[in-house]
């Protein structure tokens, strides 16, 4: 009768692989960061535009 294989921890190489997959989902090449930067730019959040002075309206 064949003996059962002992349960062992997964090899380090497979852990490294799964880590790289999760990094991909977070955007290892910076796509998400780039997307957020563009969104902030388009929303006028950063950089914020300085409006020219207007004698009638004071912006707080």
């Amino acid at each position: 009768m064949a003996s059962k294989k002992p349960i062992t921890a997964p090899p380090a190489s497979s852990l490294a692989k799964s880590k790289s997959v999760s990094k991909t989902l977070q955007g290892p090449v910076g796509i998400v960061e780039e997307y957020e930067t563009i969104q902030k730019m388009l929303d006028g959040e950063a950089p914020q535009w300085i409006l020219p002075p207007n004698p009638k309206i004071q912006i707080s």
Binding site: T24, L25, G27, V29, G30, I31, V32, E34, Y35, E36, I38, Q39, M41, L42, D43, G44, E45, P47, Q48, W49, I50, L51, P52, P53, N54, K56, I57, I59, S60
Partner: protein, 398 residues
């Protein structure tokens, strides 16, 4: 573009009113500055790959007023808004202008401005609305000043509305959802080189992304997500959109039309002076547009809310597609993994389905498979018999 300049801070309404009360020459200078500050990178700073002329990071190399001309003519801080315009600016994709214009906003505003300029049928606009009226007429209903970057009107193409429809048709293979006021088709030149497959490809892309969103948290069972198919549709969209933009084609038109729709959209985003004058206040942009439409007797589109919701996220996603970020299937999971891209994709899929009446959450080909699976090949003798059980309920005997 004007919404970008105003920003989304807590003093947004004040800043918008400030903009509406600026001199038209200031607004014109802002547009020149914006164009001057556009991204002009020969290579993508993230991937270091070369940017073709026409890509989002290198839209056009056509010059604006030289910066020193702007500064010498009008002064730096005293007149124009920024003194360091080289900020690598983007503007929204042309799809933004298309979606916003589909609400019929442009025609409704045109009627409002005309009514105020030729009579007092709508009353007399309040003080700040007078500035808005002047600016709107000068920027969007007058012949632009010579040499301005947004001058897309000439004796060769005198009708800017036809020019807009021409650009939409070339880029998306679609005309607007409305014709002229009498429901006749609007005449414009339909170019032979047009992306007629844009809608079907975009819908395929959305349906596949929805499969990914639906399965992203699966821990067991089948996962029908097909990253390769999504990457393939993204590549097709990337290629067709960039084909229309070769060497910076359509860049100035896009810039002007996006700016124009941004001005009108901004006007509807709060109870601005012109809306107060019209008594067209509301809690949402589509409701304000609806009330304004009622005042001038021209209905807005019934799906205006969905078009407003679609405009920004779809423009952002198409910029990403044009950058080629999803041509690689390794990047595709970003579209359905929790994050800003996934949130935008959900919004797009939901409101596209509502606006078009074509449900992007239904599996591709499912209607056909439902029809065929209902037919079980019974002969007359095999038709299921319906009998009653002991409780008087109908039971089908298969």
């Amino acid at each position: 573009m004007f919404r970008t300049i105003v920003g989304n801070g807590s003093n947004r309404i004040q800043r918008a009113n400030h903009l509406f009360c600026s001199h038209p020459a200031q607004l014109s200078a802002m547009m020149e500055q914006y164009w001057n500050g556009r991204m002009l990178n020969a290579a993508n700073p993230r991937t270091n790959q070369s940017n073709s002329l026409g890509s989002p990071q290198r839209r056009s190399e056509v010059g604006a007023y030289p910066l020193n001309y702007l500064l010498n003519t009008w002064g730096a801080d005293s007149f124009i808004s920024r003194n360091a315009p080289n900020d690598n600016l983007y503007w929204l994709h042309l799809i933004y202008a298309y979606m916003i214009e589909n609400t019929r906003l442009y025609e409704i505003f045109k009627k409002v401005v005309t009514a105020y300029l030729v009579g007092e049928k709508l009353g007399v606009p309040v003080g700040e609305a007078q500035s808005w009226l002047r600016n709107t007429e000068e920027l969007f209903f007058s012949d632009p000043s010579p040499f301005a970057v947004y001058n897309v009107r000439s004796r060769l193409r005198p009708d800017v509305e036809a020019t807009r429809r021409n650009a939409y048709f070339r880029m998306f293979g679609m005309d607007l959802n409305h014709g002229q006021a009498d429901n006749q088709a609007y005449p414009f030149h339909k170019a032979g080189a047009a992306n007629r497959d844009f809608v079907s490809t975009l819908e395929d892309f959305m349906q596949e992304v929805w499969v990914g969103i639906s399965n992203t948290s699966n821990t067991s069972g089948a996962n029908r997500t097909d990253n390769a198919a999504i990457a393939n549709f993204a590549r097709q969209l990337h290629d067709m959109l960039n084909d229309r933009r070769l060497n910076g084609n359509l860049a100035r038109e896009e810039f002007y039309f996006v700016s124009m729709m941004s001005w009108f959209h901004l006007t509807l985003e709060f109870n601005s002076p012109i809306l107060t004058s019209l008594r067209a206040e509301g809690s949402r942009e589509d409701q304000r547009l609806l009330r304004m439409a009622e005042r001038v007797g021209l209905p807005s589109h019934a799906k205006a809310y969905d078009f407003f919701q679609l405009a920004d996220p779809l423009a952002r996603i198409l910029i990403q597609i044009e950058l080629g970020n999803f041509n690689d299937e390794n990047n595709v999971p970003l579209l359905f993994a929790d994050g800003p891209l996934e949130r935008d994709m959900r919004t797009i899929i939901t409101h596209w389905s509502m606006a078009t009446g074509r449900d992007m959450k239904v599996r591709r080909g499912q209607n056909v498979s439902i029809a065929s699976s209902n037919y079980r090949g019974y002969t007359t003798a095999q038709v299921p018999k319906v009998t009653a059980n002991g409780n008087g309920e109908a039971v089908t005997a298969l």
